[in-house]
């Protein structure tokens, strides 16, 4: 080995060694430096609209939008997308923003987020499910559904719904919005009839509010699950199974235009 090369390598090592020590000092210093004067914000602005290529579908809402209970994991949203793909050659883009257990007040917060608004703005079709968790509240709703409570809950829900639809229409005047109504998973229980009554009214009020906005279509699902409800429910007896989602998707698909 050439002595000269060894010497050069040694000097290079010494140099990088010093650089790493500086880096280490930087790290420790930076970690304990105080907060900044103002919060960081990148000036690079997002393009106002996403580059439009094909169809964009944005799904909002709760576990139904997520597809909970569907063994295939698609949910009605996935089925609808498949249907759209069958009918068009355009590229279809889906953004599923559904969150398990989401209530209308949480959705209200969600649609106010900047990025969510930007996504809604770029959408051609908006799918929406909400309200199930407001009404049933993880089983609590079953116990006191007869009392005054339902009225209060419903009132709050309707206000939130109004806000959400307003918000969607404000950022996007063109997209068709499909708002999926509630079904009664408890129809076979003792109090099933009474619960049905509450849900029918709930759906009626929801449809009324949807009607106040252009291009918002209320899609009823109550009748789909009226007979043989257990064939269409997942083992938790609350969410639809694949067949149930398929039913909802077929109904939505029948309404689709773009």
């Amino acid at each position: 080995m050439n002595k000269h090369i060894i010497r050069v390598i040694t000097y290079i090592s010494i140099c990088v060694c010093l650089i790493w020590i500086i880096g280490l000092g930087f790290a420790v210093h930076e970690y304990y430096a105080g907060g900044p004067e103002k919060a960081p914000f990148s000036k690079a602005t997002a393009k106002k609209t996403l580059n439009k290529k094909g169809l964009t579908v944005v799904a909002l809402g709760d576990s139904l939008t997520r597809g909970t209970g569907d063994e295939t994991g698609k949910g009605y949203v996935g089925d609808v997308i498949d249907e759209i793909k069958k009918r068009t050659n355009q590229q279809v883009t889906l953004l599923n923003l559904g969150i398990n257990g989401q209530r209308s007040d949480q959705l209200k917060d969600q649609v106010q987020q900047k990025e969510v608004q930007r996504q809604i703005k770029g959408a051609d079709i908006v799918l929406l499910t909400i309200g199930g968790n407001d009404l049933f509240r993880g089983g609590q709703g079953l116990i006191d559904f007869q009392t005054q409570n339902v009225g209060i809950v419903e009132k709050r829900y309707l206000d939130n719904l109004k806000f959400v639809l307003q918000q969607i229409r404000a950022v996007n005047t063109e997209a068709n919005v499909f708002f999926i109504g509630l079904y009664n998973p408890f129809i076979n229980l003792n109090q099933g009839k009474d619960i049905s009554k509450v849900i029918r009214r709930w759906n009626y009020e929801s449809a009324e509010i949807s009607a106040a906005y252009p291009k918002v279509v209320f899609v009823p699902t109550f009748d789909l699950f009226e007979l043989k409800v257990n064939d269409y429910l997942y083992s938790d007896k609350f969410h639809p199974n694949s067949k149930g989602y398929r039913l909802i998707a077929e109904r939505v698909a029948a309404l689709l235009t773009w």
Partner: protein
């Protein structure tokens, strides 16, 4: 001293270890680059867009949904929550957390190799620095010279430190050069956020500030170097204490791997935080990930590592100067 170091350096180069290490790093970087490339591609295919905001938004929603599952453990939940809040912060402040490009690849590579991969590479050099002299029999020749023993050992240690610095540099250069072919060589100036701190109530963002990526990577390199030096020193000590290189390597390997395993399950065993191997993930502090045990901070981890380092160095020198060599 200069001559001694030069001599040691010559021996190191003659063994061609550094070349082997460079080759290993090169092959792995190629693998990681390909994996990363595939991941980005499938993500874009799934969402049908390359807009990072859309992808990040979908990630946030997916993480939120994972959090609603009742089957995940408390610790995992907390970690997910931290990532979630961080992602939301990035999105709200309009900063791409992983701007595509070779610099981002380097950052991710360093963050993932700090606790196992690079220490292993260092070990390859450090663990036979002294013990190989025993097995070759050259130790006697070395010590018959009119040079004090501690000077001999110090020259070996300095050489080790220089070699470690070189390895870290090689890792950086190779990962930049190779990943740049796929991801492009630009992006040193993109902003990245640091200063997140994890508290009981969640993520504290009050002291978050943005840094240019090159500065962040320099900091990462500094921390990686420190970890490499500490692990190298520990293997160096073992190489002095144990004549068999294989045994020394085995011990080091076992403790490094146990560190990787322990970090995932020590959260309730508080005193484990004094072990060196759970303190290796220093870059996580800059990134703002939840530490394996509550109450660990950057300065705590560095102190623990330095204490281990000092003890190892002391043991190595004491034992080498006192030991009978036959």
């Amino acid at each position: 001293m200069n001559k001694l170091v030069q001599n040691e350096m010559m021996k190191l180069m003659a063994k061609k270890r550094l070349l082997v290490i460079a080759a290993i790093i090169g092959v792995l970087v190629i693998l990681f680059t390909y994996a990363q490339y595939k991941q980005v591609q499938t993500q874009q295919e799934k969402l049908g867009t390359s807009d990072w905001r859309t992808i990040l938004q979908q990630q946030i929603i997916d993480t939120t949904n994972r959090l609603t599952s009742s089957r995940i453990s408390e610790e995992w939940k907390k970690q997910l929550q931290t990532t979630l809040q961080q992602e939301q912060y990035y999105l709200d402040h309009n900063i791409n957390p992983s701007e595509p490009g070779a610099p981002t690849f380097i950052r991710i590579f360093l963050e993932n190799s700090i606790d196992l991969f690079l220490p292993l590479m260092v070990m390859v050099i450090a663990s036979d620095l002294v013990s190989s002299e025993h097995s070759l029999g050259s130790i006697k020749l070395l010590l018959t010279r009119p040079v004090k023993r501690w000077r001999v050992l110090l020259s070996k240690y300095i050489t080790l430190c220089l070699a470690i610095s070189l390895i870290v540099a090689i890792a950086g250069i190779l990962s930049y050069g190779i990943s740049g072919i796929v991801f492009g060589y630009r992006g040193w100036g993109t902003p990245i956020l640091t200063g997140f701190s994890v508290t009981d109530t969640g993520l504290n963002t009050s002291s978050v500030r943005s840094l240019p990526l090159w500065q962040f990577i320099l900091m990462d390199f500094g921390l990686v170097w420190l970890v490499a030096i500490v692990v190298g020193t520990l293997s160096f000590m073992l190489s002095v204490l144990i004549r068999s290189t294989a045994a020394g390597m085995g011990i080091m390997l076992a403790s490094l791997i146990s560190g990787a395993i322990l970090s995932n399950m020590v959260s309730s065993w508080k005193s484990a935080k004094y072990l060196f191997m759970v303190n290796l993930r220093l870059t996580d502090y800059l990134k703002g990930a939840a530490p394996p045990i509550e109450g660990m901070t950057l300065s705590f981890s560095i102190t623990v590592l330095l204490v281990w380092w000092a003890i190892a160095l002391m043991v190595a020198f004491l034992s080498f100067t006192q030991k009978d060599i036959y």
